[in-house]
């Protein structure tokens, strides 16, 4: 009886390295692969996923584990599905979340194809999340939970996915790395930024890819919620909802970006209260379980690491959903994800289209 084969996505970081090592320990026939998603002109040290150093680290870990390692070139797909979309979203005055698109379109779909090609029954990653009974659940380490980025994956992927570090916390993962002699990567720093934005300055990517006179990067008014011009900005794509930096001072209360109106090139600012929303409209909804019904209660997260909020589903048609929040939530940002939970279970998610300042009532159902 031959051992079951697992294709592990290895970024060269500690999480995916430990994931691979654990699977080797458990007796699987493990094959490592690093996805090359983009190419920096110059090498940027310690970048996750893609720089030469990361590929080399993954290769060294595989060498140490005695498993084969391959590099998968997904540059053109990543460029199309993720980077192009990232630029378009900012140009539309939204704040995109490229990791979700990468997981949804690039990583898991393509990775599963590669797994099929080499007769691997399973795929594995180093995400902090768990698959239990074919359902996606939050990682045991609440601080590290990455389900916020995973809601978009195809449902079928779940039945073939293993997440070996989802039951550990970060400290345990590092400890396992040391215990297994993976000193190469055991203390590698965390990656927090977007992988293809090496220095954290996403506007540089926009400047490279948008025309010089793109509205998103051109001057426009800063207005308050009643429409009065209170200042000027040099491109709405440089702003995101909830931001304070770059917002004019001199008001009675601290002011925040509360909306972006690309059609007027306007950045709207307001008080902390004006930043609150009571409802969420999300699109491109994907369910990882049976779809819930109107009237169901869910927990929703509207950005990475934001607390969970209670909400009720008030509208559900096709791939669009509207939720009414029990308590108002700050900085609901179009382009970010809304991820729906029932306890630890991930039900699904969608991309935030808009927020509502007033709580919508449930539609009156026809008798």
């Amino acid at each position: 009886m031959s051992r079951e084969r697992v294709l592990v996505a290895m970024s060269g970081g500690v999480d995916s390295s430990v994931a691979a090592a654990l699977l080797v320990e458990q007796g699987y026939d493990v094959v490592g692969a690093t996805m090359k998603l983009f190419c920096h002109g110059e090498d940027v040290p310690d970048r996750p996923c893609c720089s030469l150093d990361s590929v080399n680290d993954a290769r060294r870990v595989c060498e140490q584990l005695g498993i084969p390692h391959y590099v998968l070139n997904l540059e053109s797909r990543f460029g199309h599905d993720v980077v192009d979309n990232f630029v378009e979203e900012y140009a539309r005055g939204r704040t995109p979340i490229p990791c979700v698109r990468c997981n949804t379109f690039t990583k898991f779909r393509d990775f599963l194809k590669k797994a099929n090609a080499i007769d691997a029954q399973w795929i594995a990653t180093g995400h902090y999340a768990r698959v239990v009974d074919g359902e996606l659940r939050r990682g045991l380490d609440e601080n590290k939970d990455q389900t916020y980025f995973l809601w978009g994956i195809d449902c079928e992927v779940l039945s073939r996915m293993m997440l070996p570090v989802g039951g550990l916390d970060k400290a345990q993962t590092r400890a396992r790395a040391h215990a297994m002699g993976l000193e190469v990567i055991a203390e590698k720093p965390e990656s927090q930024e977007i992988c293809f934005v090496p220095d954290g300055d996403y506007t540089r990517i926009l400047e490279q890819r948008l025309p010089a006179d793109a509205p998103a990067l051109s001057r426009g008014p800063i207005i308050n919620s009643s429409g009065a011009i209170v200042g000027e900005h040099n491109g709405f794509a440089r702003y995101t909802i909830g931001q304070r930096r770059g917002v004019p001072g001199g008001f009675a209360h601290p002011m925040y970006v509360i909306a972006i109106r690309p059609e007027q090139r306007a950045v709207v600012i307001g008080t902390r209260d004006e930043l609150l929303g009571s409802g969420i409209i999300a699109r491109e909804v994907n369910w990882l379980t049976d779809a819930p019904s109107i009237g169901d209660q869910v927990s929703v997260r509207i950005r990475h690491r934001a607390p969970l909020a209670r909400a009720e589903i008030v509208r559900l048609n096709g791939q669009e959903i509207e939720l009414a929040l029990d308590e108002p939530v700050s900085a609901i940002t179009p382009g970010q994800s809304a991820v729906f939970y029932d306890g630890e279970r991930v039900l699904g998610g969608g991309f935030i289209e808009a927020s509502r300042s007033l709580r919508s009532a449930l539609p009156v159902l026809a008798a």
Partner: protein
Amino acid sequence: MPIDPIYLDHAATTPVREEVFEAMKPFFGPRFGNPSSTHRWGREARAALDEARERVGRCLGARADEICFTSGGTEADNLAILGAWRALKAKGRTAVVTTPIEHKAILGAVHQAAHEGAEERFLGMTPDGVIDPASFDELVDEKVAVCSMMWVNNEIGSIQAVPELSAKAKGRGAMVHTDAVQAFGKVTIDAQTQQFDFLTISGHKFGAPKGIGALFIRRGTHIEPLMHGGTQDRGRRPGTENVAAAVGLARAAELTLAEGEAHCARIRKLRDKLEAGILAKIPDAVIHGRGAARAPHIVNISVPGTDSESLLMALDLRGIAASGGSACQSGSIDPSHVLTALGVRPDLASAAIRMSLGVLTTDQSIDRVIEIFPALVAKARQLAVAE
């Protein structure tokens, strides 16, 4: 791991031959001297180096002083292109001609020459990877400093008519370089009767270790050195010589030529069997360069509806080592610039698998590949349909 792995990547590199290893050993031991030293250790090393130079020269129909040892093919290619261009640019010869299917070592060096002011000219190719004579006539004119063409293409094996084209180019006053890294031992090379000015060989492609190659530089040809330092190799290539590797190169070159015809006949037969076996099971497989005169050791095949990245992984996991397009430094595979330049459809270019035969190839290994490759292809195509 599979019981009996099959190495079909001889165009990438070959194992060091036992006889070569033996020949090199004394120079890692008692005969460790520096050939530039005047004492007995130095003299011993110098004698070995001189002899190696002479022997490599003989293998190419060249004299000892026409052989410049380098670190390998890339250095030799760079030395030829840039050395010739830099020496000639002051004389009004401002163009560098090459083919679009060269190794990156040539393309990179030509690009550098262009950066230094040269005019890059790329020869037109037939779809099978042969230089179009009309394009050659048009582009190789009195403005050309150096014309470089790969004798045997490393990806598809197509052979250029280097002797004839060299004569033509010489008639127009251009310097001629040929990258013979894949050609050595596969075609007849004779510097006495053929008119190229520079010729590159690389040891690890025929049983010598990695890190040694040679550039033939015709006597009386002036080139600018790439590196500056001591007077080794007449100042063309400063740095203490790699005596052991030079001795290994000489031994490997001699063995390769001695066995040349028999070896070529053997692998040609296996190559033909491999191609026929695959085509019998995959009738729509495309073998690149098949219409051209080809070296016997390279098969480059694209199966519609597959991709080389997946197929190479699957082959490797079944113990079969082949290669795809140009592997980049990270190890990821980009579509081959060679196939792209020959007008191969992008989907076919990204499906290309190169299998290259050599000393390790046996009849049984070819039988196994004829079994396994079509089975993996069938599976890949099924998956492609399902997806």
